[in-house]
Symmetry: D2
C-alpha cells in the first residue's frame, strides 16, 4: 500500500502533470507548432512513467514483500510482471 511519502510525492507530480496537460490543450487551441506539441507530450509521458515507477517501487516494498515473507508470492509476482509488460508496450 502507498505510504504517506510516496502519496505526497506522487500527488505533487500528478498535479504538475495535470498542469502540463492543460498546457498542451492551450498549445493545440493556439495551433502551436506540431513538433513542439509532440515534444511536450513526450515530456508528460516521461513524467507519468516516473510516477508509475514510484508507485511500483512502493508496491514491491509493501505488498510483494509481505507476500514473499508469507511464502505465497506466486500470484503477486505474476501480477507485477504482467503490469510491467503492459506498462512497457
Amino acid at each position: 500500500m502507498i505510504d504517506e511519502t510516496v502519496k505526497e510525492q506522487a500527488l505533487i507530480r500528478l498535479r504538475k502533470i495535470e498542469g502540463q496537460i492543460k498546457g498542451i490543450q492551450r498549445m493545440v487551441e493556439e495551433e502551436k507548432y506540431c513538433i513542439d506539441i509532440v515534444n511536450q507530450i513526450t515530456a508528460v509521458k516521461r513524467a507519468l512513467e516516473q510516477v508509475a515507477l514510484m508507485v511500483m517501487k512502493r508496491h514491491v516494498e509493501s505488498c510483494v514483500s509481505e507476500a514473499i515473507k508469507a511464502g505465497n508470492s506466486t500470484a503477486k509476482i505474476d501480477e507485477l510482471i504482467e503490469t510491467i509488460d503492459r506498462f512497457v508496450r
Copy 2:
C-alpha cells in the same frame, strides 16, 4: 499546422486525459491498490501516444509535405525523426 478536425479531436482526447489524471490523483489520495494505479497510468500513456500520433500525422501531411514539395525537406525530416526518437524512448 494543425487543422480544425485534428484540433477538435485532439482537444476532446486531451480533456478526457485531464479527467483521467484527476482520477489517478483520487486513486492515490484514497490509497487504492498500487497495481490499479500503475495500470491506469499505462492507459493514460497510451491515450497520450494516440494524441501525439494524430498531431504527428497532421505534421507530415502539412509542414513536411510542403517542405518536400518546395524541395527543402532535409531539416524538416531530421526534426521529425529526432522527435520520433525522443517519443519512442
Copy 3:
C-alpha cells in the same frame, strides 16, 4: 539466479531472435520495403522484451525474494526499479 527452466526458454527465444536479426540483415541486403523492415524490427523488439520480462520475473522470485526474507532488500529493490526505468525508455 536463472534456473534451468528460464535458462532453456530464454535460450530458445534468443536463438529465434538471432535468426530474426539475420532475416532483417537479408531484408536490408535485398532492399526490401522499408516499412516491412521496420515492422520486423518491432517484432524483434517485442520478442526481446518478453525475454527481459522472463529474466526479470526470475530475478524477483530469486535474488529479490531472498533479500526481502533476509531483511536487507533496499539496494535490490532500488536496482530493480532502475533497471525497469532504463528498460521502459
Copy 4:
C-alpha cells in the same frame, strides 16, 4: 527504397546487434546476474530502435516524398503513422 549509405550503415549495426544477441545467449548459458542480462537486452533494444529510425528516415526521404510529390500520399502517410504506432508500443 533503402540507398547504399543507409544499407551499409544498417548492416554494420545489425551485425553488431547479432553479436550482442550471441553475447546475451552466453550470459544466459553462464547464468550471469539477471540485472546485467536485462540491461544488455535494453542496450540491444535501443540499438534496434536506432536502425528502425534510420530506415524510417530513408523511407520518408524516398517513398513518402515521392508519393507527396505525385499528389497521392494519403495511403503512404497512413502506413507510416501505423508503423510508428506499432513501433512505439
